[in-house]
Amino acid sequence: MLTIESLTKRYGRTLAVDSLDLETRPGEVLALLGPNGAGKTTTIRCVTGLASPTSGAIRIAGHDTRRAPLAAKAATGFVPDRAWFYPKVTARELLRYIAGVRRQHDAERRIEALLERFRLAAHADALTESYSHGMRQRLAFCAALLGDPQLFITDEPMVGLDVQGHRDVKKLFRELAAAGRTVILTTHTLAVAEEVADRIAVIDRGRLIALGTMGELRALTHQGEAATLEDLFLHLTEGLGEGAEAASAREPA
């Protein structure tokens, strides 16, 4: 579904992503974990076309993002960590606009269903400038799902969502996976990752340092059945020795 081959992204002298390889399968939920500044957002920005890779290749549903960006984008739905929309447009108008841009001429029913599903129906005709952060986030989910994407990517999807929103989103991920879609999410809430993800990828300083199911990660780190994802994560990111950020973050102030 999504294939990333030795992706590298530099910002001047900073190496944000360092020859990263990753392959996902249809019908799986993959959690992308890593300390702050590890390169998760940068990887996602490269995949969604918000940034262009310094080198390496990305394919989405078989379409190379460099050679066939439109086809790759058409197969992708994206929810950023801080969604912002045209302030003077209503949610319904925004979704119609996206449908128009994507040339989905009969999206009306789908739009209503999405607004209903994400509890925005009552606010669908209010300008988005009046929305709370969580409402904007829910609108971003509607926008991303409008084109029924094969690859669904979210960056910190839970930030700003209420309790019901958390549950809705977790349920959504499982539903999408059951329908054969691929879901990729980043999060710092390890419980969420543990709950919804089929596989977990850990990134540190731009490199992929571990990838697998909970069981595979336990085996990799020689931990017992009782080990939580938090144990595994800290073990992995610290195991690299000079992991400055991860280590210093745990030092008592």
Partner: protein, 551 residues
């Protein structure tokens, strides 16, 4: 001032990222500044050398300087109101700065400085070559230069203060979430009032005199010299500069600098107070959900998306945003006022003979191009940047950047065409031009509208700025300066092309059917080629740059 240093370093770094454009814009700016300086110097020298009027030459120069000060003060006032709300109360960095253990007085000091640079920086820059020209032409005492510059700076600090105080009142009184709207409305009224005030001075009186007719010209100059505005601050600045010409310090200098400094201090402390009291909360966007009735997709929107695909969808969205965002549609009102004033002035000019009328008509073609360029800077140049914080949405959709840029071009074009062709046709009517020019004026204006819209949208796409606190900022970026330079070039070239038919019309006023003659067709062909170049090349360049852009 470590905060200011930090700001400055950030600005320099972003400029240094595009060295070629920076060099080009700087070169252009230097050329314009130097040109202004030479012009003023020559003008002042000429006035002083003009026979018989040497006694009133200083008065004429002083009045001209006062007029300039007055005009630029009005310009500062116009831009400061909206800018002050954004800078003093609404900036994203304010909360961060104030959350830190930095001295709040310093934060607001920097904010006021930023506001001053934002609103008065460009007018001050325009003033410098004029002051230098006057100084060099009159062989000024060295003291003149610092004193006159400081006096001008202090003068422009007055409208900055006024704007900041007005902003304070607005922040306090406006219905919550509507501060920006009200501020925009007030600025528009101020601008309209300033334009009307300018009209009241009846500048076309200048044209009623023939420089060859010495007696009339002298009586005009004498009348002009007596037109003192005495007690107003622009006169203080002029008096201070004038005294400094021979190395004296005038009392008005102290008054002006004192008042200007005090004003800025007051603005800073009041802004601090206002912020501390929590009035800033009312700046948040409308709290109440303004619900619009749910309606099925309107027919016009469906038509656009079905016929034009993605471009149509963007057009529909932009039309909505334009109609609902005061900051966008209000620009049109300024334009309408501008066009109105232009026509009233044009109609007021006495035009005795057909030939004189046709000369005016030919000049008018150049003027209309300049007006259209100015309008394009306000309306067409920012369109891509208007995507602002929502640009990510366009980036992740399966949408060609070409469609986006094309949609922006198509959205602005009708407005620009209506304005330009309207100005061309109206000029033909008002001036009662001969047929060749009566057709040539709207033709040239229409071409200008297309070419300048393409140039503006293209350069705006090549230099997008998605983070701004108010759209006025966009008109002062390096990209905008480049646009102005190229637009002037384009306007000059069209005017030169049109000089030929204008000349023919003057030579043979009765001759009809110029535009169907081989020569007329050749002129149209060249105009078309030039306009295509000015449209397609920038749009293509803008699309390419936008494709490479990473937010």
């Amino acid at each position: 001032m470590t905060l200011a240093a930090l700001r400055l370093r950030g600005a320099l770094r972003s400029l240094a990222a595009r060295p070629a454009w920076l060099a080009g814009s700087l070169l252009l700016l230097t050329a314009v500044t130097y040109g202004g300086y030479r012009l003023v110097r020559a003008g002042v020298t000429w006035i002083y050398a003009y026979p018989l009027i040497d006694t009133i030459a200083p008065a004429v120069t002083q009045r001209s300087l006062e007029g300039l000060f007055l005009m630029l003060m009005a310009a500062v006032l116009f831009s400061v109101l909206v800018a002050s709300i954004g800078t003093l109360y609404g900036s994203d960095d304010l909360e961060l700065l104030l959350a830190h253990p930095t001295d709040a007085a310093r934060v607001f000091g920097m904010k006021v400085l930023e506001l001053f640079v934002n609103a008065a920086g460009l007018p001050l820059l325009f003033t410098l070559p004029v002051l230098a020209g006057v100084g060099v032409a009159l062989d000024a005492h060295p003291l003149y230069y610092p004193v006159s510059v400081l006096a001008a700076a202090a003068l422009y600090a007055l409208p900055v203060t006024l704007g900041a105080l007005l902003a304070l009142v607005l922040v306090r009184l406006s219905p919550a979430g509507r501060v920006r709207e009200v501020a925009t409305a007030v600025s528009i009224s101020a601008a309209a009032a300033a334009l009307l005030g300018l009209r009241a001075l009846r500048p076309e009186q200048l044209l009623r005199v023939d420089p060859q007719d010495t007696a009339a010209f002298e009586s005009f100059l004498t009348a002009f010299a007596r037109l003192e505005i005495g007690w107003l601050p622009p006169a203080w600045a002029t008096n201070a500069s004038w005294a400094a010409l021979d190395g004296r310090l005038h009392a008005s200098f102290a008054a002006l600098v004192g008042l200007g400094g005090l004003g800025l201090l007051l603005s800073g402390s009041l802004a601090h107070l206002a912020f501390a009291r929590g009035w800033v909360r009312s700046l948040d966007t409308a709290p109440a959900a303004r619900t619009r009735a749910a309606r099925p997709t309107p027919a016009w929107e469906r038509f656009l998306t079905r016929r034009l695909g993605a471009v149509g969808a963007i057009l529909a969205k932009d039309a909505r945003v334009f109609a609902r965002d005061v900051q966008q549609w209000s620009q049109v009102i300024v334009l309408a006022a501008l066009a109105g004033v232009y026509f009233v002035s044009l109609a007021a000019i006495p035009v005795p003979t057909q030939q004189f009328r046709d000369v005016m008509g030919a000049l008018n073609i150049a003027f209309v191009s300049f007006i259209v360029a100015g309008v394009a800077l306000r309306i067409a140049y920012p369109t891509v940047s208007y995507e602002a914080g929502s640009y990510w949405l366009a980036q992740v959709q399966p949408l060609r950047k070409r469609s986006l840029v094309l949609a922006k071009f198509l959205f602005t074009l009708p407005l620009m065409l209506a304005l330009a062709v309207g100005l061309g046709v109206a000029a033909g009517r008002v001036l009662d031009l001969s047929p060749t020019l009566a057709f040539g004026a709207p033709l040239a204006a229409g071409f200008s509208a297309v070419g300048l819209t393409g140039l503006a949208v293209g350069l705006g796409a090549a230099h997008p700025r998605f983070q701004y606190t108010n759209p006025n900022e966009l008109a002062m970026t390096p990209g905008a300066l480049t646009f102005m330079g190229l637009a002037l070039l384009y306007a000059t070239l069209t005017t030169l092309l049109l000089a030929r038919p204008a000349w023919t019309a003057l030579q043979r006023p009765g001759a009809a059917a110029y535009w169907t003659s081989p020569e007329g067709l050749a002129v149209i062909a060249m105009l078309t080629a030039l306009t295509l170049l000015a449209t397609v090349l920038p749009l293509w360049h803008g699309t390419r740059q936008l494709t490479r852009f990473e937010g």
